[in-house]
């Protein structure tokens, strides 16, 4: 605290005294200082991670974080360099000099330099992030839904709740019938209980998954667009009517994580939340059995 106050007093002193010492006009001095201070003030919380992402819970999420860090470094360097240069130009060339401005219409070498630097940096970044994106989405697009080695969970958005469906002991989702949909009777998805596949389907408002196991999520919606987003997974996808969205993840940390809808879905958008409980395998099985017992 003392340090901060001392630093502030020191800065103010410089601000007040410097223009007279170096004989520059106040406007350009203030502008340069403002540009630099904004640059520093914006950068510090990112470096200090004052407000930061929640810890990742999958390997894929760590991959995303790596790409995020790389992007912070690249953009951070450009951000600081540009603001340093802008502030310096304002300070240095704002002085009332008697000689005329330097006459130059440009410099091809410099143009070539920053054009190629920007191309390499920016386009390079995308390709660096290829793996993380491909892992998140390409694999799902290429495989058939519901591989046997995965736990498959169906998540259906609805104004303004999430419905989570498990296939039950038989491992098969039953067919849905829109005519059977009735929120008041506890059948928000229209599961056909008369069908052998659908008889044991479990529908709950809260999502549970076992730890260290591959989970496949099928994303659907009954009405408008919603978005399934768990910050700790670094995964996000709109639920689109008529389309089965698919995400895959393998959580490695037991805990409770929040699912907050991330696509404007109407009046109660801000209230549309649920939880993802990542459990030990045994706890998960017990939980599933409990849920199944309610069906009897």
């Amino acid at each position: 605290m003392v340090l901060i106050v001392a630093l502030a007093i020191w800065l103010i002193c410089i601000l007040l005294v410097a223009p007279f010492v170096v004989k520059i006009r106040l406007t350009n001095f203030l502008l340069a200082v403002a540009i630099w201070l904004i640059c520093v003030a914006l950068t510090i919380p990112f470096v200090a991670k004052t407000w930061w992402m929640p810890d990742p819970i999958t390997d894929h999420a760590r991959l995303v974080d790596g790409q995020m860090a790389l992007t912070f470094v690249v953009t951070g360097v450009v951000f600081i360099l540009a603001h340093l240069a802008l502030g310096y130009a304002v300070l240095k060339f704002g002085r009332d000099r008697s000689e005329p401005a330097e006459y130059t219409t440009g410099n091809d070498r410099w143009e070539l330099l920053w054009t190629s630097a920007a191309t390499v940096l920016f386009v390079g970044l995308v390709f660096m992030g290829y793996t993380a994106w491909a892992e998140a989405r390409f694999a799902e697009a290429a495989t058939q839904p519901g591989s046997p080695d995965r736990e498959v969970v169906e998540v259906t958005g609805q104004q303004f709740v999430w419905n989570i469906r498990y296939p039950g002991p038989d491992g098969k989702f039953g067919p849905l019938d829109v005519n059977l949909i009735d929120d008041s009777l506890g059948n928000p998805l229209g599961v056909d209980r008369g069908n052998p596949d659908g008889k044991d389907d479990i529908v709950v408002p809260r999502m549970a998954v076992p730890v260290d196991k591959e989970i496949e999520v099928i994303l659907r919606t009954k009405d408008v667009l919603h978005n399934f987003f768990v910050p700790e997974l670094r995964l996000k996808l709109d639920t689109v009517p008529g389309i089965d969205g698919r995400l895959r993840f393998k959580p490695d940390k037991v805990g409770t994580y929040e699912i907050a809808c991330s696509e404007l879905c109407g009046l109660g958008h801000y209230k549309m939340r649920s939880y993802l409980d990542v459990m030990e395998q045994a706890d998960y099985e017990q939980w599933l059995a409990e849920q199944a017992s309610f069906l009897q």
């Binding site: 060339f93 219409t105 143009e111 920016f122 970044l125 994106w133 408008v224 667009l225 009046l267």
Partner: protein, 598 residues
Amino acid sequence: MNEVAEYVEVHRHPEPKSFISRWIFSLDHKVIGIQYVMLAVVAVFIGMALSLLIRLRLVWPEQAVPLLGDLFPVGAPDGIMTPEFYLSMLTMHGTMMVFMVLTTAPQGGFGNYVLPIQIGANDMAFPRLNMLSFWTTFLSFCALMMAFFVEGGAPISGWTAYPPLSALDSAVIAGTGQDWWIISIALFCVASLLGALNFIVTTLELRAKGLTMMRLPLTVWTWFVTAILGLLAFGVLLAAGVLLLLDRNLGTSFFIPAGLVINDQLIDRSGGSPILWQHLFWFFGHPEVYIAILPGMGVTSHILATFARKPVFGYKVMVYAVAAIGGLGFVVWGHHMFMSGMSPYSAFVFSVLTMCIGVPSAIKTFNWIGTLWGGKIRFTSPMLYSVGFVSLFVTGGLSGIFLGQPTVDLFFHDTYFVVAHFHLIMGVAAIFGMFAGLTFWFPKMFGRFMNEGLSKVHFWLTFLGVYAIFGPMHYLGMLPHPRRYAEITGVDYLAAGGSAEIHYFITIAAMITITAQLIFLFNLVWSLFKGKVCSDDNPWEATTLEWAVPTPPPYDNFAGKIPTVYRGAYDFSLPKAKRDYAMQCNSDDMVYQQAAGD
């Protein structure tokens, strides 16, 4: 016009006699330009008031706002805003700002006023079309205002109006607000198409003798490219809007798929695709971003050169960069849809193209700094705004490098990080371009200067203020705070992350910054009547043709004598020249022999 070396005589059009045809339904591009600017000023204060309500609702949801209860008895009973009212404010704020402010003032306003004079034309190519554009825009504005007061209130589906939310009343509140919104947008598209056509033809056909394309001021280049973008983009939005209107009112299903169930009711439609709307909308929406920002980039280049007393660094490269941004702007719309459920493969292609657009943007930034480098900078208020523009453009542009990557967008999509990004770059950077343009051209338009002291105070409060508002939104995005939440409490990870403090800070900063805009408004009105008189035709010692005509310009700009152009737009500090600027209409004889003669 003693600055002119030689001119071509053209037929003079007499000034209309009646007040209405001179000032209301005027064919004069200058009057139309001012009308557009005034419309934007009205719209920007409405839009800003909405943003104030948004901020107030977020941090003090239970607090009654005076007068609001009388104005909106349903949305804000007793002045306390409901969550749906919050969403209406948010929708209308976005629409008002994007369409009625960011699209009208830079292009329709300043472009209309300045472009014909800068290229040595008496008027736009089609003056009647020009008048029609403005008045159609005005109708569009009225339709948008209607949306506030019809039953059901203003729409709540956001400025992007994604169906099915925007298409089905049963998913929101029944009412005609969304229809009025669509009608407004459709009218706006028609107006902008007409305007774009006019700008393109004018630039191509009406340039003065000697004014080749590569001698055009960069302002003209950006207005020209913006017009091309407008011509190609607005038609698509118009079509999409009409389809949405049909979906809402005539039972069609362009955007509504089969099997929707809302409140236990099966919706009897089938065959549409909600993603189709997103493609159509963003095919317009992304070029729209450049429609808003390109004129600001042109103005900034123009003003930096003028007040640094240096030629624009790399003029040709700047022109190519503007063209590249315009061209690439049409093939990157998918980066708004990484999380929409569209093909992940196309997402990657869109991402590569999006990063490519960062390259011409970087070129522009470095050339601006290059223009300042070695200059002899005069810190007038237009110059301050332009330097502010560069800083905001850099800050807002770089967050685009995050959002343009689908990998990183997995985390940031639809969070406050996005809000910070687009507000900085297409919101306040573009508005700084307008402030710069207004303070720069004000003396030419009205024969009086804006008050320099007030402008500077306004600059400082606004420059620091917008950073205080939108800077912290990046941190909210890190938490990650979802957008468009009517309440900031409730989400556990936000409470744990400390989002409430950031929200309070932002709201306080917004209140101060918005209040500071009253300084601008006062300055504008006061300077119109009481500002320092500008008796000089060329008060800034600038080079382009608008400074060669009398202040304020006569009805047909050049009084029948169109000057001949001899040189590029930014001949500042030419070695051996008498003065540190050579106007475009000055021949070499004038520039150099005067030096010998004196």
